[in-house]
Symmetry: C2
Subunit: 228 residues, 2 copies
DNA sequence: TAGATTGTTAATCGATTAACAATC
DNA sequence: TAGATTGTTAATCGATTAACAATC
């Protein structure tokens, strides 16, 4: 009957950022798999079953989920919808974060048109560039504004996150401007490490190329292995 | 005088994939920082100096680099150019890998136009799609071909890597076709986990959205912290 | 109740850091 | 040579897995 268990354990704490970075990095993956389970109409799942799907140990799943309190039920497993709701909550889906994209080159446009933001409850409310060639262009369901409008725009709208897809040369000056505008999350694709930020400014750096190099490393290892 | 040290240590082994995944994941980061050091004309660097730049411990740097043999020199540090060459070699830069991009939507185009491939020694030799709207279009310095040409193309060219930026519904059938064509590296942006692949097929999955969610998680943690 | 499966503790494993002898 | 800094071993720390009692 799977009544949702709300009991708080001692470790409910996991206060603020007291959760292991390894666990945090795995949360989005749980989110994705749960989303798929829901799409497939699955109502309950055990750590064992999920572990097979995800190719991790059942032990790790139980350990991970327990960092945030008891989401399951002995003898039953996990209620898929309840677990999804809990993890979504942890990840701030439904928090209604508002984002702007700065730099509408190929990558900026690709991201802005990507359904990913919507799926994750992040709303793109504005897009900016300095090039007259793209200003005024419609991308997704918005229009690219001149970067000079940044301040005015942020006075009129709540903006939490800035997606930085501009050339790395321009990033420092833009981040300077973002700080007083109340933006506290930077999703940084420029490849430039951002230093000396205010303590309440969170940054997530993305280096897509690193992933390609990891693949190349493995390909090369295999080749070397074959040659011997 | 920094003569390059070639001595092989016992651990030179690090045979094929015998290197810790954590170390492997850090290699591209060393690559990036060394590239920058070279651009700035720096000729030598100590683990201590590099550790400050990269915000990691000097101990970790020495430990990491030593997985692959002695790249430094006591009392001197590391020769930047030599170290860069060695790490590039490990990562297969200069190996001249050839890649095709399958699925020329926004993301496919953004990647194909990205200087990242060139910087990392990977050459995009072909681009494919099924939509007449993009077939024939010039992207970067190539032209999008119809997916039906895939087999013919791969007979005429050496292709090592396929960049998968097509809709996840189409991926299974495409990967089936890639296997007999000699492609052994998949860079998978579809979000669909690939199972049941031949053992010599390497896959690197990219989930950009996971990084956004990590940022949102942290933002939410901070908010919760502030409220208390 | 009996069976199943969680929550949680304890054991293992791996990764990071500290320390220092080797050596340039 | 003396000073610097690596390579490498040993100590610490954290993360994963195994095991099982709690309990639905």
């Amino acid at each position: 009957m799977a009544k949702s268990v709300q009991k708080k354990t001692k470790r409910d704490a996991a206060k603020s950022t007291g959760v292991s970075p390894m666990v945090i990095r795995r949360l989005p993956r749980y989110f994705r798999y749960l989303r798929e389970l829901i799409r497939n109409g699955k109502l309950r799942i055990s750590s064992g079953e999920l572990s097979e799907m995800m190719h991790v140990t059942a032990s790790q799943i139980r350990q991970d989920l327990n960092c945030f309190g008891g989401f399951g039920q002995q003898g039953y497993g996990y209620n898929v919808n309840y677990l999804y709701a809990k993890i979504s909550e942890l990840l701030g889906v439904g928090e209604g974060y508002h984002a702007i994209v700065i730099g509408m080159g190929n990558l900026g446009k690709a991201l802005a048109r990507n359904p990913m933001f919507e799926k994750r409850g992040v709303d793109i409310v504005g897009m900016f560039d300095i090039s007259p060639a793209v200003i005024g262009e419609k991308v997704g369901d918005g229009v690219v504004l001149p970067l000079s409008e940044l301040e005015n725009f942020c006075l009129d709208h709540t903006v939490d996150i800035a997606v930085l897809t501009l050339p790395k040369e321009a990033i420092e000056s833009v981040v300077e401007r973002l700080i007083p505008l109340g933006i506290t999350g930077l999703w940084n694709f420029t490849g430039k490490e951002l230093d000396h930020l205010p303590p309440d400014m969170l940054v997530e750096n993305v280096h897509i190329g690193d992933s390609l190099m990891t693949l190349c490393f493995e390909m090369r290892c295999r080749e070397k292995g074959e040659k011997q």
